[in-house]
Amino acid sequence: MRRIRKMAGGTQERLRAELQQAAQALLNRPWITKRKDPEMFLLVKSHYEKLRDWFHDHAGFSLIVTRSFAKLEKIPGSWQPWMRIETFHGPRDYALFAYGLWYLEGRGEAEQFLLSEMVDAIREHLLSLDVNLDWTLYEHRLSMARALKKLRELDVLVAVEGEESDWAREGGNHNVLYEASPMARYVLRRFPKDLTAYQSMEELIAPADQLLPAAADPGTGSDVQVRRQKIFRRLIQEPVVYDWQWPDEERRYVQTQRSWLIEQMRNMLNLEGRRFREGLLFTWTDVTGEMELFPTLAGESDLLMLLAGEIRRILHKNPGIFEKDEQGNLLLTRAEFEGILSRSKEYHGDYWSKGHREKTSSLLADELIAHLREWNLGMQEGVHIVKLYPAFMRWNGTYDWKGQAE
């Protein structure tokens, strides 16, 4: 069956699959280098114009392709708490990450230096700005080490000998020999103006307000384009945006242009879209992908799906038991939520990880509510109410296995 289809739509289908692969890789990796990933790099290059134009017109993202790497500069449509560098604990980590790049700026490829030289230069520079960093303080060293680790992960900094973690732990008598990589200058994205001209964060993500020849059909103004870019930025990057989460103008656009949006998302990004009463829902149908997927591999995802099944059964027995608001969210009291959780534990706790089994229901509820928020599946409102968003009910987790478990 499949083979027949393949033979029929051969080239066309293959090209589209390539395009989708390249688009997803660009969206989810810092960049694609020729050295490390020659095949994907070639894929991006061979579809360069299409990718560039689509991302430019639809999302206002620019695609940079040089002889050695490709990078899509993506911009949040609406910032979500999960859009972060996970290992960073606070502003200082980010600042030191920026100053790490600052130190690397202008260094030749494979130019070598020592950790001590780098941190001293940063410290001295900050002292001149009246910022006191003290490398004898464990906390400051830890911050720097987290920043350095991230720079290494990105391959813009290479450690030849030594470990920054040793330096963080014990300080001065440990050193690391580093090498610079020219990729360092591409970590910070490009802005239409010099960065120093920006005063507020929101200015940084304002879509460039200009009509592009490719998108200039008569009768569309640049405000339409800006709106479209804002919408695509969110659909491309977020798990779901319910109708009530859009500003009025954007909601109207999403509701009236839904079939076009669904078609665009399918063709370019291989995301299957469907219109529901509460909003558009896009899903990734392959088992694995470049992006982060829900259900995640973490135990919390299991528990949420289990909970969704549980709530479905309760509603089935007793349809009006929980209140639904007009946005289609289910409202539970925190006590009800924890109660359902405790019952699940009685039935299925044996299959849970030790950590989840031993948590108090309150702490476990906190953890699950955090997971709900991370995936726009729900939230806690005030002290007493747990709101479950419509997409939460798209899953039902069960421990009923077919046949014997392995």
Binding site: G299, E326, Y399, D400
Partner: protein
């Protein structure tokens, strides 16, 4: 020295000249002489090992070690005779890196000092300089040839030899020099920031040469073309005559053959300055090549400055960003600024596709069949005794879930349908209510009271309006589990199509 420069400069000490009278003057002078020689050959950066080997090869120092040489180099850096740069060579350990693998380069000041010393010593310049003076010298010889009516014995040959030597020197130096500017090494050098230091000296040099070429080359061409050819013939004759007088071990060749040879050499010389019918002169070519070199250098210099400027601006931007981060006081804000500037996160999406039981765009996410996931055990317990027998067939299981689900949906719909059919009612008209009915009713009342228009829309596409009793009558609602006293609201229900 510029006259207008501040006079303070007249009284300042010049550390750059310390090496000329320091305690280990011999070592310092030899080191810098080596640098100067290499500089003349366009080798600007030297490693300690190279310096040591070079200095030792002259055999003028006994008892000198690499470590001493290293220290001397450091001293010269201190006195601003040399600048150091970390060697581009790769170290593989911290220790190796710390062994101070530096390369050194002469500072422009020191180059001038060495050049002065060289002049003082009256040493012939090293290869690779474009000396306009050579052209001047040649021009002088040619003018003499033109202006001497009679050739005293020996004079012509002497002049011929001078002329040929100078010509060869000019020719070779110029091409060497231009060639050296085209080599990979020089190109590489031109891409470094250190090149900026030399750019001015070098372009100045080349420009002078071009000016010299134009001025003297032009004159040369004019003299060669406008003078009666007989004059040159007479000169060549005189040369050949002088040569014939010299004792020679060579096979004796005839005067004619000798004359032919000289004529050929002469014509090469003339062509170099005047060209021939189908080829421009070498002067023109040299001028063009020099100009090209200047242009290329300026281009490189510009590129370096651009890169440098751009680097500066990125550095400034990163500095600005770093300070921006430091001005934030909570982690969420930092994450947000990080996402706006670095974008180092992956996108997020839901995985899996549920069944489609309806094509209605108005179907609620609650009402569609869910995606069923079999969860894996995360403990050592793999399967409990007496746990639910697995349904053999997923399809069957889903069908059952669906039936149950639709049934539930039906009972809910029934309540609504009943009330919608009534259209409007007062609380006092209602009979005994079930729990789900109470749930709906109280929910709607609460929401209507919260809205100023006393009107709401439900997700099921109902419009519900509440009217308060005119004179505060109250009503009692009877439920399965008790009684509730409330104002005798009147409720209006209307089905509206969802947006």
């Amino acid at each position: 020295m510029n006259r207008r420069q501040t006079r303070e400069l007249w009284t300042k000490p010049v550390p750059e000249t310390k090496y000329l009278n320091a305690e280990n003057v011999a070592r310092y002078r030899l080191i810098l002489r080596l640098f100067y020689e290499n500089h003349s050959k366009l080798r600007y950066w030297l490693k300690a090992e190279e310096v040591y080997a070079g200095v030792m090869s002259w055999g003028l120092l006994d008892d000198y070690s690499l470590e001493q040489c290293q220290r001397d180099l450091e001293t010269l850096v201190e006195w601003k005779n040399l600048t150091s740069r970390h060697d581009g060579g790769r170290a593989t350990t911290i220790e190796e890196y710390l062994r101070k693998r530096f390369r050194y380069q002469m500072t422009p000041y020191t180059i001038e000092i060495e050049r002065m010393l060289e002049n003082l010593e009256n040493i012939q310049g090293y290869g690779g300089s474009l000396e306009p003076t050579l052209l001047e010298r040649l021009l002088g010889y040619i003018k003499r040839v033109r202006d001497i009516p009679e050739w005293p014995e020996g004079e012509a040959l002497q002049l011929w030899r001078d002329l040929q030597n100078s010509f060869r020197q000019l020719h070779e130096n110029a091409s060497d020099y231009l060639a050296s500017l085209q080599t990979g090494r020089a190109e590489e050098l031109m891409l470094t920031e250190q090149f900026l230091v030399f750019k001015d000296t070098l372009t100045h040099y080349l420009r002078n040469f071009v000016i010299g070429l134009q001025r003297h080359g032009g004159q040369m061409e004019a003299i060669l073309q406008e003078t009666d050819p007989e004059v040159w013939q007479a000169f060549l004759h005189a040369v050949v005559t002088d040569e014939a007088r010299m004792p020679s071990l060579e096979e004796s060749i005839t005067v004619e053959e000798r004359m032919d040879r000289r004529r050929e050499e002469w014509s090469i010389f003339v062509q170099w300055f005047t060209g021939n019918g189908h080829e421009p002169s070498d002067v023109i070519f040299l001028e063009r090549a020099t100009k090209d070199s200047i242009a290329k250098m300026l281009k490189y210099a510009l590129a370096i400055q651009e890169k440098y400027k751009w680097g500066i601006s990125r550095k400034r931007e990163l500095d600005y960003l770093g300070q921006w981060f430091l001005s934030l006081d909570d982690v969420e804000e930092a994450h947000r600024l990080g996402a706006y500037t670095f974008g180092l996160y992956r996108t997020r999406h839901f995985q899996g596709e549920g069944e489609r039981t309806s094509d209605s765009a108005d179907l609620s996410m609650w009402d569609e069949m869910p995606v069923i996931r079999e969860l894996k055990s995360r403990s050592r317990v793999q399967r409990k005794a007496g746990s639910t027998e697995a349904v053999r067939d997923r399809k069957e299981q889903q069908e059952r879930a669906r039936q149950a689900f639709l049934a539930g949906k039906a009972s809910e719909d029934e309540i609504l349908r009943k009330w919608v059919a009534m259209g409007e009612f007062s609380m006092s008209q209602l009979e005994r209510l079930t729990l789900p009915e109470r749930k709906f009713l109280l929910l709607w009342i609460g929401r209507c009271m919260a809205s100023r228009s006393r009107k709401i829309r439900t997700p099921d596409g109902l419009e519900i309006r509440l009217q308060e009793p005119e004179n505060g009558q109250r009503a009692k609602l009877v439920f399965e589990d008790g009684v509730l006293d409330l104002p005798d609201f009147r409720m209006f229900l209307k089905e509206v199509t969802a947006q």
